[in-house]
Amino acid sequence: MKASRKLIIDIVAAVVYLITANPGVTGLLIHEWLSLGLVFIFLVHCAVNYDWIANTIKRHGDTVSIANLVFDAVILITFMVVTVSGIFVSRHILPLAGYVAPGYFFWNPVHSISAKVLLALLVVHVVIHLRWFSSLRGRGKASRTKRDGAD
């Protein structure tokens, strides 16, 4: 997939995540529905980077790549903790489907704490990949300069 399309997916994921991570501002209803969308967006984000993941595992990539992969796995686990605990404390979507989940006072603090851990991990994840974002900007400028030169 083109790098520019990956960037668009990443930007959408970041924006939706930032809105979803503020239920005090959006209210629970929007928070729950956006969260469902976010799961799908994160799924797509992982799927478009599937080749890198598969190559790193198959070819036993360099230390930095493996460390990066392990870090991404930790993000995945944290994200799923947030998602699963969120489903169990759902007050709109789950009752709408006709269900209620016991164990609210277990899942609620798990959801709260894991959401904060996820925020911290995602900040680091973005910083780790800053070079990739900068290289895209550089490529964009170079192709525009080439186009202007050709004119």
Binding site: C46, A47, V48, I77, V81, R91, P95, V100, K116
Partner: protein, 121 residues
């Protein structure tokens, strides 16, 4: 791409199931799969038996003077009235300042500092 999406979805689902199993094994209170809402089911948050409407869907469960509700902060207290509801409503879904400092400011400062140090080296 569909195959990659499917494999990714299976990875997400596998981790999700593991998370539920760990929670179910480690929790000290009742943790189970979601159950169908029936006339016998009590509110999982406040243990309220109100059937006609839920007064906790959008806001914190407010005491209506009729149905007994369990306090979310002091689980041993259960009443039709609540003497701390204003405080509970004010702090609900709002992270404390300490929490914001620990989980947002601290990692951002740490990471930015590390990046600056690595670049200078």
């Amino acid at each position: 791409m569909p195959k990659k999406l499917l494999i990714t979805f299976m990875a997400f689902a596998f981790v999700g199931i593991l998370v539920f199993l760990v929670g179910w094994a480690g929790a000290t209170q009742e943790v189970a799969l979601p159950q169908r809402i029936t006339p016998e089911v009590l509110c999982p948050v406040a243990g309220c038996a109100q059937r006609e409407e839920c007064h906790a869907a959008a806001k914190p469960p407010f005491p209506d003077g009729t149905f007994e509700m369990i306090c979310p902060r002091v689980r041993s207290c259960s009443d039709t009235d609540c003497h701390a509801w204003d405080r509970i409503e004010a702090t609900r879904s709002k992270p404390s300042d300490a929490s914001m400092n620990l989980w947002i400011l601290a990692p951002v400062i740490l990471v930015v500092t590390l990046v600056v140090i690595v670049r200078k080296l």
